[in-house]
């Protein structure tokens, strides 16, 4: 058996809302799961179960209260995202962990093509190759070419989401986190994303994803993990 690229042990998360008299919102606890190369683990469970929160903790965007998130880093070392220094997390994001968020956070004035290509150059792909990949992906995802030179701020929800997907898929991160990448897409584009995911799996990428669409989920999931089993007890 190969070593997992991602190894989560006993992860727990609560939110303390100081502006609401210290209200504590338990999210998850006891989250343990491993992801092998080429595997796509799908997180299931109802809205508010904590699926996105788990992805965000893996990406280092949310802090974990306890537990470990062990990631096989580029340099061969194992890094615990939950306790790593900020620079280490930033380095992991550059080299190891890709992430497609639920929403694109637009950067003012930067055109769509550059938004996508930038994710590749940050990974270390040279400029020309990055731009070629960006064109291929935007074409594959049916983003009209006339939009490529415009900043995505004015794009429709679906167009923005496809730019976001292209941005997430352009590099060759060994670990990829997908938070409802197909949510606002039509059937044709959903199929394109499924194809992209299959390609990544074949290339050995370890994927953790959230998909509300049963059809997509069935097609890409190696395993489905229901997060409700990690439901944290209310404090």
């Amino acid at each position: 058996m190969t070593a997992p690229l991602l190894d989560i042990r006993d992860l727990a998360k609560t939110f303390t809302m100081h502006l609401q008299d210290g209200l504590v919102i338990p999210v998850v606890s006891g989250v343990s799961l491993t992801v092998q190369p080429g595997e796509c683990v799908v997180l299931g469970g109802p809205s508010g179960a904590g699926k996105s929160s788990i992805l965000k903790m893996i990406y280092g965007n949310y802090r974990a209260d306890s537990g470990a998130i062990r990631v096989a880093a580029e340099d061969g070392e194992t890094v615990d995202v939950a306790s790593a220094a900020p620079r280490r997390v930033l380095a992991l994001r550059r080299t190891t962990i890709g992430y497609v968020s639920q929403f694109l956070r637009v950067i003012p004035r930067v055109p769509a093509l550059a938004v996508v290509a930038e994710a590749a150059t940050a990974f270390g792909i040279d400029r020309d190759d990055a731009e070629r990949r960006a064109r291929d992906l935007l074409t594959l995802l049916n983003v009209p070419e006339r939009l490529w030179s415009l900043p995505p701020a004015t794009f429709s929800g679906g167009e923005q989401q496809r730019v976001n997907i292209a941005r997430g898929f352009i590099a060759d991160h060994p670990i990829l986190l997908l938070d409802e990448p197909t949510a606002s897409l039509d059937a044709r584009n959903r199929a394109a994303v499924v194809e992209l995911i299959e390609t990544k799996k074949r290339a050995g990428t370890a994927i953790v994803g959230i998909f509300h669409d049963d059809d997509v989920r069935e097609r890409v999931a190696s395993r489905i993990v229901d997060v409700t089993r990690f439901a944290a007890a209310a404090a």
Binding site: M17, H18, L19, N61, R63, P86, I107, P108
Partner: protein
């Protein structure tokens, strides 16, 4: 001690280290017990409301103010780490016009308003010994272009520039000697929203392209979000929360940080 003048840029040794920096103005606290490390190419945002000690901290870090306690270490271009307070005035000035930049909120403070844009950009070059007018001018033109100022305006004085142009000129004037560290005090303060967006985008691009390390003081969390890798939240002179910028803004832990984040729309 041996020093290698051509030491490669060591990315894993801090460029600047603040150790328990404390400043009292008489009995009044400026800031207290601030410590952090800044690595090459890293952008740190210092946020907090006015009076929280942000500008005091910036002046301490850049050696413009003497701390009541603690120290600031800086790794010079020769690879040797020095206590900046132990630098001679000549060394400090040299640092300020070569390896450091300082972008003031009010461009007028960072520019010479009485001389042309070209002279403003060229000043640092002349200070480090450039003596070829044509090359100085060429370099100034290319920097004006880089900060999106029409090079045909090179002989105009900054008094004839708009607020946004002045701020961009100030940035060009600072970056012309390829500094490794730039201090910015509210770089977008006092500018219209659209002008701000353009400036931020420009700074973001330059910082990434040049691999600059920067310490940006701002009360605007959107600026911090866009420019910085890490954030340091200050309140009443103390650093109450620090971490990855998106982590602190999306999952703020401290009551004050939660208040800051909740009081704006979408940072």
């Amino acid at each position: 001690m041996t020093t290698d003048m051509h030491a490669p840029m060591d990315m894993d040794t801090p460029l600047l280290t603040a150790e328990s920096l404390t400043k009292f103005y008489g009995a009044r606290l400026g800031c207290r017990d601030i410590g952090f490390e800044l690595f090459p190419g890293e952008v740190l945002a210092v946020v907090g409301e006015s009076g929280s000690g942000k500008s005091t901290l910036l002046k301490l870090l850049s050696g413009q103010l003497e701390p009541s306690g603690g120290r600031v270490l800086y790794r010079m271009r020769d690879g040797v780490t020095r206590d900046i307070l132990a630098l001679s005035e000549a060394e400090r000035r040299f640092l300020f016009r070569t390896d450091w930049g300082f972008v003031h909120q009010h461009a007028e403070l960072g520019l010479r308003m009485g001389v042309s844009a070209g002279a403003n950009v060229g000043e640092r070059l002349m200070a480090v010994g450039w003596r070829h007018y044509g090359r100085i001018r060429e370099e100034a033109e290319s920097w004006l272009e880089r900060v999106e100022i029409d090079p045909s305006r090179i002989d105009d004085r900054p008094t004839a520039y708009s607020g946004g142009m002045r701020q961009r000129l100030q940035i060009a004037r600072n970056l012309v000697t390829a500094p490794r560290l730039v201090f910015m005090d509210e770089p977008t303060g006092g500018l219209d929203v659209s002008v701000q967006a353009r400036l931020l985008d420009l700074v973001r691009g330059l910082v990434a392209d040049l691999g600059l390390a920067a310490i940006v003081v701002t009360h605007d969390l959107a600026v911090a979000r866009l420019l910085s890798h890490r954030i340091l939240v200050m309140k009443d002179g103390r650093a109450i929360e620090t971490g990855l910028t998106d982590q602190v803004l999306d999952d703020p832990r401290e009551p004050y940080t939660q208040l800051l984040v909740s009081s704006i729309l979408q940072p």
